[in-house]
Assembly symmetry: C2
């Protein structure tokens, strides 16, 4: 076997290991009996260790070196380029640090769970301080030349983004969103809508079927937190959850569909290579947000959702359903935030984690900084730390640099949606009839098929013919403030 | 780390890999969308290759050598002894042969599926010949000093058994069973029983709950062929299947429960070591057959099953249910055979595969030899090869030496049951009330907890205080010919 064949073999193994890890995780959330948890932790640990071993191995480096002098196709060059990047990054942090960080993240989550339940930030502070310190050490290892420690962390989720760029874009949001909020609240007030779970379930299944979700290649299940697992190109698994008091399931199922569709429409040529998955967290989130914000919350698509609820035995006028899906009201909690205020929750987290990692904010001062930020950005008083700086699992698990992708996803989704409608014409008539083929094809061509061949910023440029920017999202937000019929 | 710690670490990895493989397999049969099959084959291939690499590695051999001179506890000595056996056996066959055999087995199954559907033995013959040849080559590698090729194959399923011993025991069955069959048929005639699936499902779940199957640690699902997956000590998964025309589900669910209980009651000290699973295929089958033949088919336990069916909305007298579960009628098909004729199906397969591997029977002559054997052993005319020598997947998949465990399981189960009743007294009164605690505790103590510390024959001796023999099973069979009330 030549070096390219050996490299491809190894890439295939790493691809399969990622799929096995995905399945172990999916099964844990959806299927596994509770008492299987400790064995599952061992199994996941083993897969992580085999992945590390196979991903950092000297021989892999030797094959990559050998391929420097070989004439390659464009696809092969991309494959080698990303394989080298992954190999280099995987070897940058010492294994001891990686293991210690994983352990601290697991312990941090346990401590956090109790601290949040008891609204006791003091109990959580030492674990958070440890996570910050380990993340800082890790970011120092990962930062490339001229990069900051925070950028070293960011690179694991969104390769190529700079802190400065994020500060600029998020600064625009922090400036522009609060003034738009008053109109949005006035014109799109929050409304309660209770729908029987059986009708929601029928609507979720019926709507997804219209989007192409068939039993041959997909599963729809329920889990405590909705998520998506891609176990294979023909094995896509999305989950949602149901509550009688709201219709979150209609949004979250389309959100997860967007994640799954991205992975499913990657060029089959890239399967089992270093290029065969979504390129970054923010592009992934843009795909889920596109289906959540621009399809599920589209006025025309409300007719489809209402007719599917009707088929499930629940009658509602499409306009009323649309109003319920697009109500605006600032709240202290990110996960229940409306699409207008959502990115402001992220701006706050970005500002704070940047300071935590940089050392400008002490862990002890976090609760106060959080309250100040919520007041400034959202005009909201935080009732407790449990509903304040203790609400998210991310920092407890040791994830820093992850939050920005949530807001970037909103911005990129809006830019993609404008590009789709600019090129294909308004989608309302198609969406009214539940036809999404043209949208799926456009996304496949401009976004999905490339896999990791293009990084976040290059992909945005390629897909929207414009750099990453906030204007399309701000126009989307402004539409919430327009007088409604 | 010293050699023992390193060995324990490696054993833990191999244990976790086996669990991951089990989960991948379970998911494929129960959960996976059909289009996930090709990715799943890759994932299973990867796990097999990592397992081979980690199981045959030179360093493992060096740790074992180092431990030769070290003072160890009894448990540690067993751990090292079995680890060395596994390491030695795993290294005995060249990897090329193992890979080719796996591939031939996969292809053989595909060819067999079509050939069986079309009742076309000719189409299957070349694939079978290839499997026989590769099994022979593999058996030659695996056979230890003074062992035959067939014994080399047998060792993968039941270490320590000899062909001669099997010939003796199966010869007794071939002699003793046919004369018992006429009385059994007369006194326990086959009866049809149709039960709605909903009632069967309720009865399966209700009965298993009485046996200790709870949601905390167990799953009950359906699949095309019932099987059991142990994904962790606290993650036991059994499957069954339902047909309105019969009550197989009541038998198969208890059968699978027996397999699961064995793994679940292994001494927790043995978890993640070379000793932490069932010791052999025949002992495993003895556990499933004990619950199927001696509990589910017990006259007293029919009261429990009837009351659980009643709770599911189906009324039947316990005696009638018992009669339906114990009807005897020779048939050409193994999987629907009654408990009396079942081992004769295995005797035939053992005789034939021994000749195939030994070279005394040519593949082309198999169909005729099969018909002759069925006539001789069961008095049955084989209507077609599809219902004759093409009925089982085992040889198509390349498994030779596996069939004997099915009959040995019946024999050992009967011996264990006699030992239980001899030591604890008749179990009828307990079974009538659905109480099985004493049986489970006896099995845990005498069979389950030992894991792989005792091989098949030693375990039988330890558990029943007698060597492996056919008499207890023949007494069980004779009871089918006794006059019924």
């Amino acid at each position: 076997m030549n070096a390219l064949e050996q490299l491809r073999g190894r890439m295939g193994e790493l691809y399969d290991l990622a799929a096995v890890e995905m399945l172990l995780w999916w099964d844990q959330q959806v299927i596994m009996p509770a008492a299987g948890a400790s064995a599952r932790a061992q199994q996941l640990g083993l897969v992580a260790s085999v992945t590390h071993e196979r991903g950092t191995d000297e021989r892999l480096g030797a094959w990559l070196d050998e391929l420097e002098g070989v004439e390659l196709s464009e696809l092969e060059r991309d494959l080698v380029r990303i394989a080298r990047r992954d190999w280099t990054r995987a070897r940058r942090a010492p294994e001891d640090l990686v293991v210690e960080r994983a352990r601290a993240g697991t312990e941090g989550q346990q401590i956090w769970q109790k601290a949040r339940a008891e609204d006791d930030f003091e109990a959580f502070a030492p674990a958070l301080a440890r996570n910050v310190e380990l993340a800082r050490a890790y970011g120092e290892c990962m930062a490339e030349e001229s990069q900051s420690v925070y950028e070293g962390l960011l690179g694991d989720y969104d390769y190529g983004l700079s802190t400065k760029h994020l500060q600029q874009v998020f600064g625009e949001l922090a400036q522009a969103l609060p003034p738009l909020l008053a109109d949005a609240q006035a014109q799109s007030p929050q409304r309660e809508l209770a729908v029987p779970v059986s009708a929601q379930r029928a609507a979720v299944e019926g709507t997804l079927r219209r989007l192409g979700v068939d039993e041959e290649s997909w599963r729809i299940d329920t889990s405590a937190h909705p998520f998506t697992a891609w176990v294979g190109m023909g094995d896509m698994r999305i989950t949602t959850r149901y509550s009688e008091r709201e219709v979150e399931s209609l949004l979250s199922s389309l959100h997860e569909f967007g994640h799954a569709l991205y992975e499913r429409q990657i060029d089959p040529q890239l399967e089992r290579t270093s290029l065969g998955r979504g390129t970054s967290m923010s592009i992934h989130e843009s795909q889920s947000k596109l289906w959540e914000n621009h399809v599920a919350r589209n006025r025309a698509f409300a007719e489809v959702l209402a007719s599917e609820l009707d088929a499930g035995g629940f009658q509602i006028a499409p306009a009323d359903l649309h109003a319920a899906l697009t109500g605006v009201a600032p709240s202290p909690v990110r996960t229940s935030a409306d699409p207008v205020t959502y990115p402001l929750h992220i701006v706050l987290r970005f500002e704070l984690e940047l300071e935590l990692i940089g050392g400008g904010l002490a862990v002890a001062d976090l609760p106060g900084a959080w309250r100040d930020g919520m007041r400034r950005l959202l005009g909201v008083e935080v009732p407790s730390d449990a509903l304040g700086c203790l609400q998210d699992v991310h920092w407890a698990a040791g994830s820093f640099g992850y939050f920005p992708s949530y807001a970037l996803g909103c911005l990129i989704a809006a830019a993609l949606w404008e590009a789709i409608e600019a090129e294909l014409g308004p989608r309302s008539e198609d969406l009214r009839r539940g036809e999404t083929g043209s949208i799926k094809r456009w996304l496949a061509e401009r976004v999905h098929r490339h896999g990791r061949r293009l990084d976040t910023l290059a992909l945005v440029e390629h897909a929207t013919r414009a750099p990453l920017r906030s204007e399309p999202f701000l126009r989307y937000v402004a539409s919430f403030g327009e007088r409604r019929d």
